[in-house]
Structure formats: structure tokens, C-alpha cells
Symmetry: C2
Subunit: 243 residues, 2 copies
């Protein structure tokens, strides 16, 4: 690990970057203990609060964990898929909500990426995953469901579809695309008729996956994409009339 620090940036940012580089380049390996805070103070020639700010930056990215007590300290953390999911979703959600991304754009991305899962999902889907999808379909057909709950169930259904591809890297990559769209979807009011249509398409998807029929699944997914976009356009039309 090198200890070169420029001016210009904050010290804590530079120290965090130096340690981060060490982790990414492999000179600091998983579960290895970092020097104690006082040692880091000496090595970087800064005060303890500054070192601590640097460590907190790394902790915020799940790159390290800390433990108190004798033989405590800061340890390089194994970034778990779960942690990565969470970061992915947080970042994606904020990115979409802060940058005026249109529903069309987000929706197009989501369905295009989901389509990439279908071929694999048709081969590999497990009974559990099919059951999860059917369970969400059942939830979606309950009459008294709020729009929010309907959307949440929709997201859960699509999560199951993505997971059915049996590739954890894809599940992770798509977590953001699938989950971050929920706040946008929540702006849509789903009438009983529209829900019916969505549930019908979901059912066809589950059926096609069960039959391991990738082509049909892709076709139905395309219909679902078109239908979802149409709903969004209706909402946009209503808005522009009343506004």
C-alpha cells in the first residue's frame, strides 16, 4: 500500500482512497486486519478523527467492518451479494428519482434486461422459483389490494423471474433495474381491468417458463412491456389534460 497524498482533496478522502486502492488491487485481502487507528495516524501523519472519517467512508461502502475491544480493529470485509444488492438498489433508485428519467426509458431498460434472463430462466427455473411466481400472481389477483402493494408484488414477481436464470451475477446486476422502477410504477393507478390483464400475462409467463418454452416467454414479456408502456402513456395523457 502506498501513502502518497495530494493536496486539494480532503485528507480523509485521500486516505480512504489509498486504502480502497489497496483492497481493489489485492494488497489487502478479505478478513485481513488493517493497522489500528493510531498506527494509521502515524503512517499517514494525520490525527485520529481524520483517520476515523476515512474509515467511516469505507464502512459506508461495506468495504470494511470494525470491532471493538482487544484484538478488535478494522477488517477488510467480504462484499456479500446481499450487500451489493442493497447498494445497487439504493443507487439505482436515487439515480432515477434525481435525474428525471422518463418512465419509458426506465421501462425499456428493465424489459430489455429481463428478456436477457428468459433464455436461461426457461432452462433452469426451479419448482421453488415457479412457486414464488405463482404466489405473487395469486397475491396480485386479490381484490382489495392497494396500488402500492400491487406494485410491490409486481416487483417481487419480476425478481423471481430474474432469479430463475440461476446466475447470481445477473440477479445482482438486475436488482437495480427491477427494484428502482417501483417508485415510478407507483404513480400509475391500476384499475381492475388493467390488473386483470397484467395478471393474465404473468400467468402466461409462469406457464411458459414451467414448460421451458423460452420463445413464448419472450413473446409474452414483450406484450407485457407494451402494455405497461401503454398504461404509463395513459397516465401521462391524463396529467397533461388536467394540468
Amino acid at each position: 500500500m502506498k501513502y502518497k497524498l495530494d493536496q486539494a482533496q480532503e485528507l480523509s478522502a485521500q486516505i480512504a482512497q489509498a486504502i480502497r486502492d489497496g483492497i481493489m488491487e489485492g494488497s489487502l485481502i478479505v478478513d485481513q486486519r488493517l493497522p489500528s487507528e493510531s498506527d494509521l495516524c502515524e503512517q499517514f501523519q494525520v490525527s485520529r478523527p481524520t483517520v476515523r472519517e476515512a474509515l467511516k467512508r469505507l464502512a459506508a461502502q461495506n468495504l470494511i467492518r470494525t470491532q471493538r475491544g482487544a484484538s478488535g480493529g478494522a477488517f477488510v470485509n467480504r462484499l456479500s451479494f446481499e450487500d451489493a444488492y442493497g447498494q445497487q438498489i439504493t443507487t439505482s433508485t436515487l439515480l432515477l428519482s434525481m435525474n428525471a428519467v422518463s418512465f419509458e426509458t426506465a421501462c425499456e431498460a428493465r424489459f430489455a434486461l429481463e428478456r436477457a434472463c428468459v433464455a436461461l430462466a426457461a432452462q433452469r427455473r426451479t419448482p421453488d422459483q415457479l412457486a414464488a411466481m405463482r404466489a405473487e400472481i395469486h397475491r396480485q389477483s386479490q381484490p382489495g389490494l392497494s396500488d402500492e402493494s400491487f406494485c410491490a408484488s409486481d416487483v417481487a414477481f419480476h425478481r423471481a423471474l430474474v432469479d430463475a436464470a440461476g446466475n447470481p451475477v445477473m440477479s445482482y446486476q438486475l436488482a437495480g433495474a427491477v427494484e428502482a422502477i417501483e417508485p415510478l410504477m407507483n404513480m400509475i393507478t391500476f384499475t381492475a381491468r388493467k390488473r386483470e390483464k397484467i395478471v393474465e400475462l404473468h400467468t402466461l409467463i409462469a406457464d411458459a417458463l414451467e414448460a421451458q418454452d423460452a420463445e413464448t416467454t419472450e413473446a409474452v414479456l414483450a406484450q407485457l412491456a407494451a402494455h405497461t408502456l401503454e398504461l404509463a402513456r395513459e397516465v401521462a395523457r391524463m396529467r397533461s389534460k388536467s394540468g
Copy 2:
């Protein structure tokens, strides 16, 4: 914003979470100024170093930026696509390197997701993007290129392919999948013969995209995926023999 704090966690983590919730839920909006550090001390009833550790956590996620001086302070940051790209790549790279993800899994994810871009890319690719792809192809055919440079150029080519879909959300989502595989690819030694094959396939992809022929592009991409996997398998065989 609420100021309820449990015990159990560190104070700085709780404060960071409280502010993060405010941002995600929308009660703190972009460019809004947070209270000064001293104000936050009073509101949360903690000392300034603790508040600062919390703010550094948020800064590490690009959720806030800080400015010194009169009328300075911490401001809610608009998460830019560029920032999100960076976080995405960092997280993906670490996730892959720390979790013994096989080359097959990562490669499958990358090509499956890229395939999702092709249909859109064939419609929308701009002359600039085609030129970028051709430039990388040219770079890849230079004889003296190191394996690392060849891989870097390969990544750049695929980045251009993804960007050609003209959907920033997809570009962001796939940044991780495309870039994080580079360290894994770097373990492969590319002989002249193998490079020739890859360059040939890249050229076919660029040609097909220029002709706006999505089907051919998908087919060639599938060949490239198969070829890449074959290379990885050869390396694995060599390893197991010599090891």
C-alpha cells in the same frame, strides 16, 4: 426528517441512515442545504466528530457534497450518471473478485445482458458509436499490444456496443457487468490466432450494427460468447495440468 435513534448501532451510522432516509423519501431534495454541523449536533444530541463521521459516510456514497466558507455546508447531491457508473464498477469488481465467481458465470451474465442491448443498438447506433467501435477494432489489431491493453480495448468495444442502445439507464446498469469482467479476462493470454478471431467477430458485429441487422448481430455475439468461454476453458485446462 425524524430523529429517532436506537442503541446498538454506532451513532454516526444511525445519523447517516436518518439523513439518507430523508433523501430517499424525498423530504430532503436535491441541492438543499443540510443544517450546519453544529446544528446537527444539537438536533441529534451528539458531538461534532460523530456528526462528521455520519456526513462522511454519506459523502462516500455521493449523496452529499460539502463546501467550506460562509454559506457553505453540506448539500444534497444530484447523483450523476457518471458517479453512479463509478460506484457500480467498484462494487461489481469487488463482488466478483471477493466471491470466487467463476469466469463462466460472469461471462454468461455479460453476454446475456449485452444481447439485450443489441435490438435497440441496431436501431439507434450513431455514426460516432460505430466509429468508436471501429477505432477499438483497429487498436486490437495492432501487433505489439499487451494482453492488458487488448483486454482494455475489448472492454471499450463492448462499452460502445452497450452505449449504442441509446438508453442511459441500460448503460449504467451494464457498466458493472462489462467492466468488472476485465480483471478476469486479464488472466487469459491471447495468442495472435485468438486475437485474430476476436477481431474478426468484432468486425462482423460492427458491420451488422451498421446495417441495422439485429439478428445477425445477436448471432455473432453468441459466437463471440462461445469463443470467449472456450478460451477460458483452455486456460483452466492448462492450469490444472501444470498445477
